[in-house]
Point group: C2
Chain length 436, copies 2
């Protein structure tokens, strides 16, 4: 289990803030459902429980008593929410029902855990929606993708959308869209997923509505989930040998001011540094003045590790020139801003940093794809190739190459070629990569 220190937790909370902003502005309501789910509720959807029962923690005792009904520590909240949804949804006027929560969920990982990437206690965002029809649910998925785009712009994380294979979809889903990001080692990291459930859950959980004609129908459902893997992706995609590079929108400190003090001018420089700090903070820019009694070089080093996007240096020459010196963390670029323009100047540079990080990461994600027409594994690349769509060929490809078949593009792509396994003509491209 992980401990979140203050600095990391601040980043996560900024990410949550962007998620909440997008969900709230698209008419989702934040809710909170219980962590502990009775086994009797958990077992209602057969595929779902099959997918999870080897991965959940079980509460079997409370105080000194053994429980009559064991409790599952939620791995995801379908089975906690849907018994209530069946009470909340009565009529077509109750639809769509759009809810989300940001909570701790749990998976009993037996593989080696890694911070942010594979953890046992997961900091999880999950939205759950109910709709009158399959088409309405499909529209929700389109909205989810716009939400994704908006959030990822702030986090500067690129992604690809793949419809997962039948044998890799979420347990109980009609289909699953995986959101994948290429990490610097070429491995693909799933940073989230969107699911269309059709009526697969509404039937066992009995979530029905009365339509305008008085007929009772089962709702169509979708879910959307992301976790602290977003932070893992951010660290992986942007970091360099000096440490983190944080996107300005989520950086706990967007800029750090380092006073460069030489003999006899400490008071003057500190006074000016305080003034600049106050100005930036008043303008809503998260600013740290590092007034520790350390060499500037050692301070540079500390804040580079922590990924602060913009460093401001302030020495006697800067004050004489009525300017500040800056250094960008994303590309090392240095320059000066005149004292009068500190706030608009810093804002402009922070925007430029964000844009550069976003574009650079997207270029890498796109450049990582290689189309192949024969069975050869190109290490560290995302492979694109023809696939007839059969499970047999798909599984054989995965096993022989020790790769994960990511699926087919969610946004259809033109393709004509042959299945890389069986050689059958196909107009379907599939993607594969090593996964994290």
């Amino acid at each position: 289990m992980n401990v979140w220190t203050p600095y990391g937790w601040k980043i996560m909370r900024h990410v949550d803030t962007y998620i909440r902003k997008e969900l709230d502005s698209t008419g989702h309501d934040e809710v909170y459902f219980p962590l502990l789910i009775p086994e009797t509720e958990f077992n209602k959807e057969k595929e779902h429980i099959k997918g999870f029962d080897s991965e959940v923690y079980w509460v079997t005792h409370a105080g000194l008593n053994e429980l009559d009904v064991r409790l599952v520590v939620r791995p995801t909240s379908e089975t906690a929410m849907y018994p209530m949804f069946s009470l909340w949804v009565r009529s077509h006027t109750d639809l769509p029902l759009k809810t989300y929560q940001i909570v701790n969920t749990f998976r009993y990982e037996t593989k080696q855990t890694r911070p942010f990437i594979r953890v046992r206690e997961i900091h999880f965002f999950e939205s759950h929606t109910c709709h009158a029809s399959e088409e309405d649910a499909q529209e929700q998925i389109e909205e989810d993708i716009v939400i994704l785009e908006n959030i990822m712009k702030q986090l500067c994380i690129p992604y690809s959308l793949f419809v997962r294979t039948e044998w890799d979809k979420f347990p109980g889903a009609h289909y699953t869209v995986g959101l994948d990001t290429v990490m610097p080692n070429g491995r693909m990291l799933q940073i989230g997923s969107i699911h269309h459930y059709r009526t697969n859950f509404s039937i066992p959980y009995n979530i029905t509505y009365e339509d305008a004609d008085g007929k009772h129908e089962h709702v169509h459902q979708t879910t959307y989930g992301m976790s602290e893997r977003l932070v893992g992706a951010m660290i992986g995609v942007h970091g360099d040998d000096k440490g983190l590079i944080l996107p300005p929108p989520v950086a706990p400190f967007q800029t750090v001011i380092i006073p460069i003090i030489s003999k006899g001018n400490a008071d003057l420089i500190m006074k000016e540094a305080e003034k600049i700090k106050d100005m930036l903070i008043s303008a809503g820019i998260r600013t740290k003045l590092d007034d520790r009694d350390e060499r500037p070089g050692s301070k540079f080093f500390d804040w580079e590790i922590k990924g602060v996007p913009l460093r401001i240096e302030l020495g006697i020459k800067d004050i004489e020139n009525r300017a500040i010196t800056f250094a960008r963390r994303d590309n090392g670029e240095k320059g000066t801003i005149s004292s009068e323009d500190v706030v608009p100047g810093v804002n402009m540079i922070l925007e430029a940093i964000c844009e550069n990080m976003f574009n650079r990461a997207w270029e890498r994600q796109r450049a990582n794809v290689v189309t192949i027409d024969s069975l050869k594994v190109v290490p560290e690349m995302t492979l694109r190739f023809g696939w007839c769509g059969s499970e047999e060929c798909g599984r054989r490809f995965e096993e022989e190459n020790d790769l994960k078949l990511l699926g087919t593009p969610y946004v259809p792509e033109e393709f004509s070629g042959k299945c890389i396994i069986c050689g059958k003509e196909t107009d379907k491209a599939a993607y594969a990569a090593r996964s994290m």
Copy 2:
């Protein structure tokens, strides 16, 4: 276990926002520690485990395996945090360490549960601090009380501070301050507590620091906890027979606009209502325009139940008079505001509502105390009386009267009289009440 619906969760999140604001501005860092705590860590402080082992949920299995070490679902986080604190604190320069988290905690309640008041999954704020000396820790408690005052001003909840009796203090604490609010039925509800641990936890968890002279010392610790009982108290203290009355700072909607439409003027009124809504929202006032196709009276009723502090009515007469009509939820008072002054007028009334709710609640809390000098129970009152301080007299008083001895005032009070049980002269006043 409780389900939080969107409306309730919004209130809780506003409460959390005020807690975070106070904690952040006093130099506390928000952190997040694991929910599941190995039994081996949980058992280190003997009093603590004695106080909790009949009240915790146990995870004994994960997937298909039985765990070697059982996991406690946190009832509170001392035993999760302090093994880490022992690594984080090295030197006196690391002190004070001030942290907090807002998380779900669990108690296996065997008594009847009640929403907000006695729940099994608790929405919990907990701060944990480490200090160089007992005095520094004591100063933290003084700061906690200022924090409390600031938060309660927003929530309009009055409180009394009692040093709990030895047999009622938190398991493992040196002493406990209970924060108590009188509910309308005269019962006392504990809405939070502050604990001074001295070195009771730092010894078993080995949290030490090197002082300026190179000597190793154990830290002194404090904690501070509050929960959704704050929402329970808010509902109980302020509500009336018509429903909730929410303090403006935490109300999901601070004002609701009800258009009073008569024949032929729907467009005009709705246009004006939209204009007022936009104006109020731009000014940061959480505003709902209720444009449902229902009678105004039925809308009044709905929003009264939900406790919206201020109702704005807008009919054709209001528009002709270039005014709006308002009704306060706290005292039913009605009046008008001229159209030009809507924003400052609404702000002023919201402030007046908050002040009135705060003062009214405090008056009731104070008026509920009755000083007695012989053993008689005054139902629905908080009793104040002399107590020699002995456990024997204290416990006898509790048992004979079926009351809870709340303790002695945290802020010392002048008193001279006799112990209500043994008759010994004493300068100590104690308080008692039925508890929720």
